[in-house]
């Protein structure tokens, strides 16, 4: 179905797959507006690519005479700029200077900025276009020399506010204009249908569960928002899929800053030359980063600085850990290549099960990490220096607006969570009703966990096939 027809899908195929919304220009003129119907809100910084704010945009605007060849609409594009040469007079500076160009030009419009066609130097703006299109009243901040080649352009050929685009440049009837989402925005849009926005959850809850004749006759919207967000946080910790990950390189300092939206890690691993991940383990039993390492006097008493706080020294444990040889802890052989290629190893490498009695917790050659809570860092053992690390972690679903959504597979569980939370904190609700919804919440949460665990029949069958192998010993 290419055209949304009242269902939950509100974007056209073109909007979803190509990230584009196209309009046919109905009439010629300036100041025309176009309304975006993307599910994703437009973000606007500036329409001039020469400005830094342009990088804030999550979309671009293109125009085309035939819907085939598209040109980005910016201050220098043909649709937003034109040229002209002044006559043998110098003009300005001044507030209402009338300048004359040698050839009439109907494309010059009020509001255009006047710049030197060669150097780009800005002279001022056109305030009024006189009849005949050869003379223009301008507000000039610098003098225009005689016979100067000028370019007239819109400093901001279009603007955007609240998903409505206003094109300041003159558009021609029958031509086309399109909103094109940037690639990273398009990534966010793809697969979005498997989620429901938290705002929709809140509205749906208020419609379906609150009102006269229902268990919750009335509830404050802010209460529902609180419970919905708390529910999303809780679900993020143990129910929802962890989708956050970062690929990083371990620097010579052997430490990486914890991500901004980090709540807990799922797995840290390094990648070998084949792109295979090797899990890095926490060095819990081996070492740690002290929260403080106060400088002590001869008696072992911490010493203070001029503002009466303990002086923090350098951690000796950290220094020793950073300089150790992890192979001496793990017992890994020197010629044991760090690659998931079984053909690198032979019987003579001593890597094929010939070693017995090792502590499995430390007998791994992947390396270790420590969380430095004092500095907010992940610290790695020195065999991981300059290695590619993948950090998989969970956030709480509330860090960014885009996060404020929940998989549809867990939508019902979130309704049950809000319902239970509201009922259990309301006065006058009988305990058996509270308990009923407590059980319902628990059951629906369990269902959500099973659904989100991605257990597919074919995958189970594939694992079970493996069981028919001979077990060698």
């Amino acid at each position: 179905m290419p055209i949304p027809n009242g269902g939950l899908i509100t974007e056209t195929n073109r909007q979803y797959y190509a990230g584009a919304q196209q309009f046919t220009i109905g009439s010629t003129g300036v100041g025309q507006t176009f309304t975006s119907t993307f599910d994703t809100n437009l973000v606007f910084g500036n329409s001039d690519p020469a400005t830094n704010d342009y990088n804030l945009n999550n979309f671009k605007i293109f125009t085309s005479p035939d819907a085939n060849v598209w040109t980005e609409l910016n201050p220098t594009s043909a649709i937003a700029s034109t040229t002209g040469t002044t006559d043998n007079n110098a003009y300005g500076p001044g507030a209402a200077v009338t300048i004359t160009i040698t050839v009439a030009n109907t494309d010059i419009l009020a509001g255009m900025t006047i710049v030197n066609a060669s150097t780009g130097a800005v002279y001022g703006t056109v305030t009024t276009v006189n009849v005949g299109n050869t003379t223009f009243v301008c507000n000039l901040s610098a003098q225009i020399p005689v016979s100067t080649g000028l370019r007239f352009q819109f400093a901001s050929p279009w603007t955007e506010a609240n998903n409505i685009i206003t094109v300041n440049a003159s558009l021609t009837a029958g031509n086309y204009i399109k909103i094109q989402m940037n690639e990273s925005t398009l990534w966010d849009m793809h697969g979005d249908y498997s989620y429901t926005r938290l705002d929709d959850i809140i509205n749906n809850f208020l419609i379906a569960y609150v009102g006269e004749g229902k268990l919750i006759p009335s509830v404050k919207r802010t209460d529902v928002i609180f419970h919905a967000k708390r529910g999303l946080q809780e679900f993020s910790y143990d129910t929802l899929k962890s989708i956050r990950s970062q690929e990083l390189t371990v620097p010579d300092t052997l430490s990486l800053i914890i991500p901004q939206d980090y709540v807990n890690y799922v797995r840290l691993s390094y990648c070998d030359t084949q792109g295979v991940q090797h899990t890095i383990y926490p060095a819990n039993l081996l070492s740690m980063r002290p929260y403080a390492s106060p400088v002590q006097d001869d008696q072992g008493v911490p010493t203070q600085d001029s503002v009466n706080s303990n002086i923090d020294g350098t951690s000796g444990i950290t220094e020793k850990w950073d300089n150790n040889n992890p192979r001496k802890i793990s017992g890994a052989y020197i010629n044991d290549y760090e690659i998931a290629d079984i053909y690198w190893k032979t019987y003579y490498d001593g890597a094929l099960g010939q070693r017995y009695g090792l502590n499995p917790e430390t007998s791994q050659r992947n390396g270790w990490f420590i969380i430095d809570d004092r500095k907010g860092l992940f610290a790695f053992s020195n065999n991981l220096k300059q290695k590619n690390i993948i950090l998989e972690y969970i956030s709480d679903g509330n860090a960014y607006d885009l996060d404020a959504r929940i998989p549809k597979l867990a939508e019902e569980a979130l309704y049950a969570h809000i319902l239970y939370a509201v009922l259990s904190t309301s006065v006058g609700i009988q305990e058996y009703i509270v308990q009923r919804f407590k059980k319902e919440r628990s059951a629906k949460l369990r269902n959500a966990k099973i659904r989100l665990s991605d257990i597919k029949l074919d995958q189970i069958v594939q694992v079970m096939r493996n069981k028919s192998k001979w077990i060698k010993y």
Partner: protein
Amino acid sequence: MAINVNNVYQTVLLILNKEQRGYMTPLEFNKIGAQSQLEIFGTYFESLNQQLRVPQPSADYSDRVVNLDEKLAIFKEYGNATYSDPVFKLPSQPSGSSSATQQFTAVNPGLTYTLTGDALALSNAGAISNVFVNNIELASTAYSISGATLTLNTQPTAGQIIVVNLYQKEFYRLGQVLYQAGALPTEEMQRVDRGELYHLLSSNLTKPTTVNPIYTYENNLLSVYPTSITSGVSVSYIRRPIPPIWAFTSGQQYTFKVTESCNFELHPSEQVELITRILLYAGVVVKNQEIIQVAASQIQQENMNQKS
């Protein structure tokens, strides 16, 4: 959808005069009529609250909540709140003339007539209007008023007198407050008290955003949070009923003047209760205990029927 003011007055006079109990002047009637209309109007909100707590039948015309909503619907309004840094002002706040009348002589062809002066000001403020052509009131669907232009749907005969009466809307109760910016979805605002506000602003989970805005309502002004919202706020509200006017030309006796009169705005189903309530006050005016007792017992009986 209104109760004819002349019918009510004549009925009241008939009952009062039947046994020569006394007479009620038009001026007394207008005052008592306005009082009675407001009394009935004021009971809607409490009645609605009571009925919402009672299960209602789903059969047509018998759902009391729906019936009450139908009575209230006459007074439901929707308008924009205007920003006056740092607060929003509610619509339909009394200012200037409360009513205006303008008269035109119909021309042919001529479907449009231009309002001026107070009539124009009231029209721009979205006033309640009624239009008479040749002393006959037009249905609200037979004409439209937009800004300075009165447009009739059918051509009046040349020379006929067209009278336009405009009455200022007056804000009564605040309903929902909504926020919409551009093409973004409309968001409902949550009303909060000043005490709650500080807690909400302090909590990262519940602090107001443009998606979840909140407001405080103090001194007939809305303070909207987040404070970045400076436009796009609209409100649903209930306005006060327009006081009834039984207009007359003075002379030997009071002669009803339809073009300057204003009907009761209540739902037609309220006619009986309205007359009864006016009679109750009329009994006080003419100092007749019997009228007071009959009217009071009828009102009580009706209340019991409506709420039991």
